[in-house]
């Protein structure tokens, strides 16, 4: 049984090639059962154009590598079925707001590392007991569940590119930064106070610069509760003003 013919309009540009210019290139491919955009891209690269650049690792929505803009919505290619598009036309663009490696591949890793270093996104244990052989106290299961909910972020970069505020202001930490801060703010093992977090996100680059456009909330492929989380941080930071 032959499937319908899909048409892909794919952004092509190699910033390493001085003579190259950004362009949209059209490809056609026969759809197969259960095909995802990620599978289609692999087929295109295998059968039609080996120079096509895009990222992937896990193929299961866990690594966050294959995020791109699919018909105007930033999301993961591996979790997007081609059957979702009745017209069979699919336009693929790289995530805006990141350094372009080539075609659909962007350097989210560099961004995430810089963000983690800037916001100090690691546990700052309470007290000065740095004995790594000491057993940790057991965590309240409810607290663990709350932390796990925020730990589900796969750092795909969708929230960053979906955020117009972030696009306008380079230094804005975006939803991913606030989500991770919220994760440590909730962690009873972390010694930082609300005041300490205020110095990191209680400003225009953080929670008070957020214009609540909610591109993060509406596009997050892991359905993380950005709207509630950012509002919680905003109230928490505002309460330190009083």
């Amino acid at each position: 049984m032959s499937g319908r013919i899909l048409t892909f309009n794919i952004f092509r540009f190699d910033p390493q090639d001085a003579g190259d210019k950004p362009k949209m290139v059209k490809y056609q491919l026969e759809e197969t059962s259960g095909m995802t955009v990620f599978i289609a891209l692999n087929k295109l690269r295998q059968e039609q154009d080996p120079s096509l650049q895009f990222d992937f690792v896990c193929r299961a929505g866990i690594c966050g590598s294959c995020a791109m803009v699919i018909n105007g919505f930033p999301t993961l290619a591996c979790r997007t079925l081609t059957a979702k598009y009745p017209k069979g036309e699919i336009t693929l663009m790289p995530l805006p707001g990141f350094e372009l490696i080539g075609d659909l591949s962007v350097n989210t890793g560099k961004f995430m590392r810089e963000l983690a270093e800037r916001l100090k996104l690691w546990l700052h244990p309470k007290g000065d007991d740095l004995n790594i052989h000491r057993l940790e106290d057991p965590m309240d299961p409810q607290e663990a569940a709350r932390l796990y909910e925020l730990e589900r972020c796969v750092e795909c970069g969708v929230c960053v590119s979906a955020c117009a505020t972030k696009q306008m202001r380079d230094t804005f930490v975006g939803a991913v930064g606030m989500m991770k801060i919220a994760r440590f703010e909730l962690d009873s093992r972390d010694g930082r106070s609300a005041d300490d977090f205020y110095h990191v996100i209680g400003n225009q680059d953080g929670v008070f610069g957020c214009m609540t456009l909610l591109g993060c909330q509406d596009n997050c492929p892991k359905d993380l509760p950005h709207m509630q989380q950012i509002a919680y941080l905003r109230r928490k930071m505002a309460s330190t003003l009083l």
């Binding site: 105007g72 590119s161 400003n203 008070f208 909610l214 591109g215 509406d218 709207m227 509002a231 505002a238």
Partner: protein
Amino acid sequence: MAGKLDIRRWSGVLDLGQSVSGVVLALFLWTHLLLVSSILLGPEAMTWVARNMELAFLSDDGHGYPWVVSLIAIGVAALAAFHVLVAIHKLPLSLRQQKALKSQMQVINHSDTRLWSWQAGTGIVILMLLPVHLWLVGSAPETIGPVGSAQRIWGEYGYLIYLPLLLTVELHAAIGLYRVALKWGAARDLNTRARLRTIKTVLSVLFVGIGLAALLAFIPHTPV
């Protein structure tokens, strides 16, 4: 120092100030529109409202104090100026920011971002039209009755300001309140957010409708 207001905390104060001033202005706007729309109940009803706005019940001769209206206009102007000052830095002011916003909105299809661009655009239009309205009313406070208003709106071409002002301000206020609610966590789930968005649209349509009806209701009172 914890709890002490230092310069680093200004962004929090500005954000809070933007929300509070926006909510107060929106509530004033809707109250104001409802008071003006008393013309729909007839000229007597509006005259009664206008007299009470001038605090006629406090004066012996029943004429009231029109300067109270001027005072309200000055208060609104001050609050609106504060709102503009604390909100304007969030707009894309540089060419680089405008380009970044434009290219992002071309690539990403997101309705709440488009809603915000409407909020920002209407804000700029209001910034130009509101001072004219406040000046017209504040400088002639004795003319807020049915005949004075009709003369201002239809006799002196005030509708050229009031029609676009009505449309933009009703969009801006409802979108703004919707955003303030989400900003501070009034919606704990996405269903509540969808409901708030519907309420926002209903409020905009309702108040634009009332406003248009009120503007038209002034026509018969225009002095020849």
